[in-house]
């Protein structure tokens, strides 16, 4: 079961969904805080939902307010980066680039892609955390931290 969990995690890394920052967060878990990463990721999805909505609304305006969009995306990129959401973060970077050069279509297209990555990651980490919780007690008993 442990190996399955490790494989699941490895696959998320290999496919570029997560980066080193996720591992950094896992290092902060201990017996007293066994679900820290799950808490942070849950917080991320809850908190960023309003940002997504704001960006969506801003993208409906005509003409686009690129500086506002860039500012919103900067915040979103920041939290995505803090949880190790690699693919999401890369879409954010792309989006900011399009803002910088004032490319409306580019922004809109990238945002659709971003939402897909955001949703996909959510499903994948939910499965991962659920599995981790199931095998959790055994793992925790062995942890020295």
């Amino acid at each position: 079961m442990q190996r399955q969990l490790a494989n699941m995690k490895q696959s998320l890394f290999d496919q570029g969904y997560l980066d080193e920052q996720f591992i950094q967060l896992e290092e902060l878990q201990d017996d007293a805080n066994p679900n820290f990463v799950e808490e942070v990721v849950t917080l991320y999805y809850r908190d960023s939902a309003r940002l997504i909505q704001s960006i969506e609304q801003a993208l409906e305006k005509s003409p686009l307010d690129f500086s506002k969009l860039e500012c919103l995306m900067h915040q979103f990129k920041g939290s995505s980066s803090s949880i190790g959401a690699k693919r999401v973060k890369s879409e954010c970077t792309q989006f900011k680039e399009y803002c910088r050069v004032g490319n409306s279509d580019g922004c809109k297209r990238t945002f659709q892609q971003l939402k897909k990555e955001y949703a996909t990651l959510k499903k994948k980490v939910e499965v991962y955390f659920q599995f981790a919780r199931q095998i959790g007690p055994v793992e925790k008993a062995c942890r020295s931290k």
Partner: protein, 155 residues
């Protein structure tokens, strides 16, 4: 300066009190955990304005407020702040802190997701102790903590 000496002898590795300033909820949760894991006491606020309020500094007239900060016994050993925040940036907060008599000796660390040399230089010139590129790692906080405890012992 005289006021700060009162607190230094009490500084040991279990009593480092850090004021963390970041408008991002996710980042605040992470920085709190990073600091607590390194045995720091943490107070976190979501804006520069709230940081100044906590420290008993006002946006003007620091001289008047300095008295109340001591009266309230606000002991802060380190301030760590995000650079990009709505309202007051971390840079502006840094300037206010360095401009106050109560907290000008308190180390201020700036965090930013953007690794811009001009920005880093500006912050360091204004008196920031360090500039950390986000996302902040445990090793960054451990390094900060050990450099501070060392500093306290020397003094």
């Amino acid at each position: 300066m005289a006021q700060n000496c009162e607190f230094l002898p009490c500084l040991d590795s279990n009593e480092v009190h850090v004021l963390a300033v970041d408008d991002s909820l996710v980042d605040r949760k992470v920085i709190e955990r990073l600091l607590r894991i390194t045995s720091c006491k943490v107070t976190s606020v979501d804006s520069g304005r709230r940081a100044l309020q906590y420290l008993g500094l006002h946006e003007e007239e620091e001289e008047e407020e300095e008295g109340s900060a001591i009266y309230n016994e606000i002991k802060v050993d380190l301030i760590i702040t995000d650079y990009c925040m709505p309202g007051m940036t971390g840079f502006e907060l840094l300037k206010k802190i360095k401009g106050s008599s109560a907290f000008r000796e308190t180390p201020v660390v700036i965090m930013s997701s953007e690794n811009v040399v001009a920005r880093i230089d500006r912050c360091l010139e204004e008196g920031a102790k360090e500039f950390i590129v986000k996302p902040v790692k445990l090793s960054d906080v451990e390094r900060l903590k050990s450099s501070m405890v060392g500093q306290a012992r020397i003094q």
